[in-house]
């Protein structure tokens, strides 16, 4: 194995998934991996690192690593921990220098970040107290509708007339959805109503920071076309989504690792 000292690793230990990215000094991604965080953050971090080794065929010892995300302190062997706010800012800026506002919607939290000229955040709002406006909200609703979560977004796009789901609270919205099923609304219309409610919640969070265009969306939920559609409509702007939106925080951490090293 070749040992590389001019590489950087970023590990984003989120509440739902752990992501790791290995980059070289030009910022090119050499390996990446994502898995469910599960009960032990430490184990999932180790699994991620093992994967980076096998994908890149590199000896990772001695490479600067930075951890981020809510479980960042669990990775006690890293050289530094940086908050997910800063890492997402740096990550999105490296992918698209134009972006002024980033909306990141993860499994159990969501955040809106105003990006400064060098990618550093200048302001942010974080929702990590309530599952409304997070991936968890959509998961619960998909369960009620008995639809696989991966299909919920595309189903919503087939709606003719979205159901009205007025509550953004996961518990209340769940009973509303049950009510809509009882009233005979189609699954597509209900799915659309769910995404509209979710978009409304995220829009409120965004307004607190101020939505300056262009706007990017990242996190696992950014892969959901129904959510993107209704959020764009709600914010009245186009949304830019990177190819692999879940890795943005880990990428930012890896870029900071290269900086630290240099």
């Amino acid at each position: 194995m070749v040992k590389q000292s001019n590489y950087g690793i970023g590990i984003d230990v989120g509440s739902t998934t752990t992501k790791a990215v290995l980059i070289d000094s030009t910022g090119k991604v050499r390996a990446r991996y994502l898995l469910a965080t599960g009960a032990s953050a430490k184990k999932s971090i180790q699994r991620c690192l093992d994967e980076l080794v096998s994908q890149s065929k590199q000896d990772l010892s001695g490479i600067t690593m930075i951890s981020t995300g809510y479980g960042r302190s669990q990775a006690n062997f890293v050289s530094k921990s940086v908050t997910e706010i800063t890492c997402h800012g740096i990550g999105i800026h490296s992918l698209n220098k134009e972006i002024q506002t980033l909306i990141d919607v993860g499994g159990q939290d969501s955040k809106v970040i105003r990006i400064g000229s060098n990618g550093r955040p200048t302001d942010f709002e974080l929702n990590d107290k309530c599952s409304a406006g997070t991936g968890r909200f959509l998961e619960v609703m998909a369960q009620v509708l008995e639809i696989p979560i991966q299909e919920l977004g595309s189903l919503a796009l087939k709606a003719k007339s979205p159901s009205v789901i007025s509550s953004t609270c996961t518990v209340f919205a769940e009973s509303e959805v049950i009510g809509r099923i009882g009233a005979g609304d189609t699954p597509a219309n209900i799915a659309a109503g769910i995404h509209k409610a979710m978009a409304a919640k995220i829009a409120t969070l965004s307004q607190r920071v101020g939505v300056v265009k262009p706007v990017a969306v990242t996190g696992g939920v950014a892969l959901n076309p129904g959510f993107r559609f209704y959020l764009a409509k709600q914010l009245q702007t186009e949304l830019w989504v990177p190819d692999e939106p879940q890795y943005t925080g880990a990428l930012g951490a890896a870029l900071l690792a290269i900086d630290t090293h240099e």
């Binding site: 809510y70 940086v82 800063t86 955040p121 200048t122 990590d128 107290k129 607190r208």
Partner: protein, 409 residues
């Protein structure tokens, strides 16, 4: 060649302890003892933090502060237990945790720190801080039999109109009658003026100590001020308060002269807004001290810095106690915080949104926006409570403050 030593030098702490903290402890212990004696002698009053305490002091009564007791409950980490006692009585979890823990301690003193506050002979509330205090004191009145007197100070925007002043003054006249009757003692205006003078002397020493934090490094951190404010709250108008603040200001001046900061290495200067989370006060501020973060100013401890002007005693007191920030609306508070940021040369601010205290926490989102627009420095809001630790999540607070530091550094 260097020789290997077997004993490591003791690691220096990130913060410096005040030597006057010993005197502070003694002063407050004596005060607690005096409240017990006063209760036995039928001369104890409970007062709210913004109450014109000079009046009961001039009537030779001793004042105990349930809010200060709440701070003790919080520091002793028994907030959830005592709040729970009040909740068992039917009080809502949304009620201020100072009120809940106070009511809880009256219900079960045997399970409360210091076996609760001694039973009062009168409950004196002033709603210049919030409306909660009246309902709270009425509940305690039902349980203890002590009568309540309310000094009503309607909210004020801008200057105080004459009819407002006249109304508050009439409330103070009512208080005089209430005190004379309850404690069987005539009103002595000359004595009240003397007490006001003593109060002013202590307030001046306190204010000078706070203002010394404009120095770099700052001689005091947030926890230092929150603990040392105890006598300015509880002993205003007494010689004991003056004695303490003379020593305290002496230490502050000494630190400034020697260039000694409250923390070893000052890198970032922040403003703190609101009551602190008492149950983790040291942990919170000392963890940040290790990162080089000091809080030279806060919006809370500066609240006790108004002088009672010489003149007709009740009119002067009515003026001062109507105009405390909480009674003056959001824009006065925002102005004050912007000024603190400029005058103390601060790099950012932390607004603590206290679940209990709606009056103090309302409007923080707008406040954050306006302060940044006016001063150019960033800030964050963290959520929690001062006593009820169930409402506070350390990891969430830490992420927000760390992100703020990453923006500044």
């Amino acid at each position: 060649m260097s020789q290997k030593t077997t004993t490591e030098p003791p690691k220096e702490k990130a913060y410096r302890k005040l030597y006057t903290s010993k005197l502070l402890r003694e002063t407050m212990t004596l005060h607690i003892l005096s409240t017990k004696t006063a209760s036995q002698n039928g001369r104890l009053v409970w007062v709210t933090s913004g109450f014109p305490v000079e009046i009961p002091v001039a009537f030779d009564t001793v004042a105990a502060y349930p809010e200060q007791y709440g701070a003790i409950v919080g520091s002793e980490k028994c907030g959830p237990l005592l709040c729970g006692f009040a909740e068992e009585l039917g009080f809502s979890q949304e009620l201020c945790s100072y009120a809940r823990s106070s009511i809880g301690s009256v219900k079960k003193p045997e399970q409360s720190p210091l076996t609760g506050l001694p039973i009062p002979q009168a409950l004196l509330a002033c709603n210049n801080i919030c409306g909660t205090v009246l309902g709270w004191y009425e509940a305690v009145s039902e349980m203890t039999g002590a009568p309540v007197y309310l000094v009503d100070t309607p909210p004020l925007e801008g200057d105080q109109p004459p009819h407002h002043l006249a109304y508050v003054k009439s409330n103070l006249e009512g208080l005089i009658t209430f005190m004379s009757e309850t404690f069987n003692q005539p009103y002595d205006e000359e004595k009240l003026l003397q007490v006001a003078d003593l109060s002013n002397t202590a307030v001046n020493l306190w204010t000078k100590s706070l203002e010394a934090c404009k120095n770099k490094p700052s001689p005091l951190n947030c926890a230092d001020r929150f603990l040392s404010m105890a006598p300015i709250v509880a002993l205003r108008g007494t010689q004991q308060a003056i004695d303490f603040y003379q020593a305290f200001y002496g230490e502050v001046k000494e630190r400034v002269k020697q260039g000694l900061g409250a923390i070893r290495e000052e890198r970032v200067r922040l403003l703190w807004d609101n009551i602190p989370p008492w149950f983790t006060i040291y942990n919170f501020f000392n963890t940040l001290a290790k990162k080089g973060v000091v809080f030279p100013a806060d919006s809370y401890t500066h609240a006790w810095s108004a002088n009672i002007p010489r003149g007709e005693a009740l009119e002067s007191i009515a003026q001062v106690y109507s105009k405390i920030w909480l009674n003056k609306g959001l824009s006065a508070k925002i102005d004050k915080m912007c000024n603190l940021i400029k005058d103390y040369e601060l790099d950012g601010f932390v607004l603590f949104s206290v679940r209990s205290c709606k009056r103090y926490s309302l409007g923080q989102m707008v406040t954050k926006e306006v302060i940044t627009r006016r001063t150019g420095v960033p800030g964050v809001i963290i959520e929690g409570d001062m006593v009820d630790s169930q409402q506070y999540n350390e990891a969430q607070a830490e992420t927000r403050v760390d992100a703020l530091l990453e923006m500044i550094l």
